[in-house]
Every structure is written in structure tokens, then in C-alpha cells.
């Protein structure tokens, strides 16, 4: 996710924004995948699934669609 998020960055995330508005393109989200918590940016949407990608394209292979139920929250602050 570099350059926006560097390794070791502290992120404040919240699920509250997504109770108010649906996840949108360019939102940086936290989601569950194979037992891990992943941070990525939304780059597209289809029905109730979201396509995500890392900002550092060369460091991010294509990632499958993420369902709404797997999204934990949105990054609201980076420290």
C-alpha cells in the first residue's frame, strides 16, 4: 500500500462509516481474508462485492472480489 501506507504505519479504522454509507471506490478498507486482516483500496464494485487493489501496483497481484460481509471497516486515520 505504499506510498500512502508504509510498513509499520498505525491506522485507526472504524466500521461506523459503513453503517451510514456504503463502501465506495477509493476507500481504504480493512477486510478478512483467509484468517488474516488485510488493508487495501476499493477500485471497483459489483452488486455486493468489491474489487480491491494495493496502491503499490507492482507489489499487489490481482486480488479476488471481497464480499460486503468480509469488510471490517474503513481506515479513517493514519498516524
Amino acid at each position: 500500500m505504499e506510498p500512502f501506507i508504509k510498513e509499520g504505519s498505525l491506522l485507526i479504522t472504524s466500521s461506523i462509516p459503513f453503517y451510514i454509507i456504503k463502501p465506495r471506490e477509493k476507500d481504504i478498507i480493512l477486510f478478512k481474508s483467509q484468517g488474516k486482516t488485510i488493508v487495501k483500496r476499493i477500485v471497483g464494485k459489483e452488486k455486493n462485492t468489491y474489487f480491491v487493489e494495493g496502491d503499490n501496483k507492482s507489489d499487489s497481484k490481482k486480488f479476488g472480489a471481497v464480499s460486503r460481509s468480509d469488510i471490517l471497516g474503513r481506515v479513517v486515520l493514519k498516524i
Binding site: 486482516t37 488493508v39 487495501k40 480491491v52 507492482s58 507489489d59
Partner: protein
């Protein structure tokens, strides 16, 4: 109240930015294979029978165009494959400590990228051969970082040359 005590107040978890499943399986073999294929396709492009020598018949001309299109397509495909394989090694495998131990690594990747572009842009056997050598240098470093002894063995491909593997 300092930052640490504030953080203790909240639930702090680790989030990963790497989407890949951390399988730990890396190998420079595919990159070498792609480099050999680029050389071979470049050689084959040079061997396509010119239309003039083929007596200028329309069917010969069509065949030559067809062969050139197919060979060029395979050359492009393997240049992309090579680029992807090297990107994976550069970004996912090699870490800061590897670069400290082998400071030539960034330059090797830069050269590979430059030579890959040159091999794509033209029918340039020289660049394709140099690309293979750079990829082999990267392969050697890769195996050293894995704690095994790299060896260069004769390839069994029509391109000749070598393949870097390990003992």
C-alpha cells in the same frame, strides 16, 4: 498520557497490506525460461523467409506475416512473464538485508527492466542475450540467499547457453 497508553486503551491488531498468500515459494527458474524463449523467438524472427526470396507469391507473403505475428506474440508474452517473475522476486522475496548483502541487486533489476524493454521493442538478439545474463546473475544471488550453492549448467534448449540452478 503517552501514545502507548492510549493504544493500550484500544484494540490494536496487525493488518497486512500484502494480498498474496505468504507461500514462501519463489524460484528464478521461470524468469530464466522466459529469457531463453525471448532469445529463441528473436532468432526465429530473423529466420522467417523474406517474401522476396519466397518468389513473391501471395501465399508465401501471408505465411511470412502469419509467422511473424505468432512469433512476436510469443516474444511479447514471455517478456511479460519475465517482467512478472522478476517483479515478484524484487518486491515479494528480496528484502533489505538481501540488498545490503548483495548491493548490485537493484542495478540488476533495473538492467533487466531496460533490456526487457529493448528485447520487446526490436529484433535484438544482443539485448535478449544480455537479458538472460542479468536474469542469471539475479538467479545466482537468489540461490545464495537461500543458503545453497548456485551452479550454471548447460541448457538443453536450442538457444544453448546456461541455466542457473543449485547443488
Amino acid at each position: 498520557m503517552n501514545l502507548a497508553s492510549v493504544l493500550n486503551f484500544f484494540q490494536v491488531k496487525i493488518a497486512y497490506a500484502h494480498c498474496d498468500i505468504p507461500c514462501g515459494i519463489y524460484d528464478p527458474h521461470n524468469a530464466q525460461l522466459a529469457a531463453h524463449t525471448i532469445i529463441r523467438m528473436t532468432q526465429l524472427l530473423g529466420e522467417v523467409k523474406p517474401v522476396r526470396q519466397a518468389q513473391g507469391k501471395r501465399e508465401d507473403e501471408t505465411k511470412a506475416e502469419h509467422d511473424i505475428a505468432r512469433i512476436t506474440h510469443v516474444k511479447e508474452e514471455h517478456a511479460s512473464l519475465l517482467e512478472n517473475e522478476l517483479t515478484t522476486l524484487q518486491n515479494d522475496y528480496f528484502k533489505e538485508e538481501h540488498i545490503k548483502e548483495y548491493p548490485s541487486l537493484p542495478e540488476l533489476f533495473k538492467n533487466a527492466s531496460r533490456l526487457g524493454a529493448k528485447a520487446r521493442q526490436g529484433i535484438d538478439t544482443d539485448s535478449a542475450q544480455k537479458l538472460l545474463l542479468v536474469v542469471q546473475d539475479i538467479a545466482e544471488i537468489f540461490f545464495k540467499t537461500k543458503g545453497v550453492i548456485p551452479v550454471r549448467v548447460k541448457s538443453v534448449y536450442p538457444t544453448g547457453g546456461e541455466i542457473v540452478t543449485y547443488k
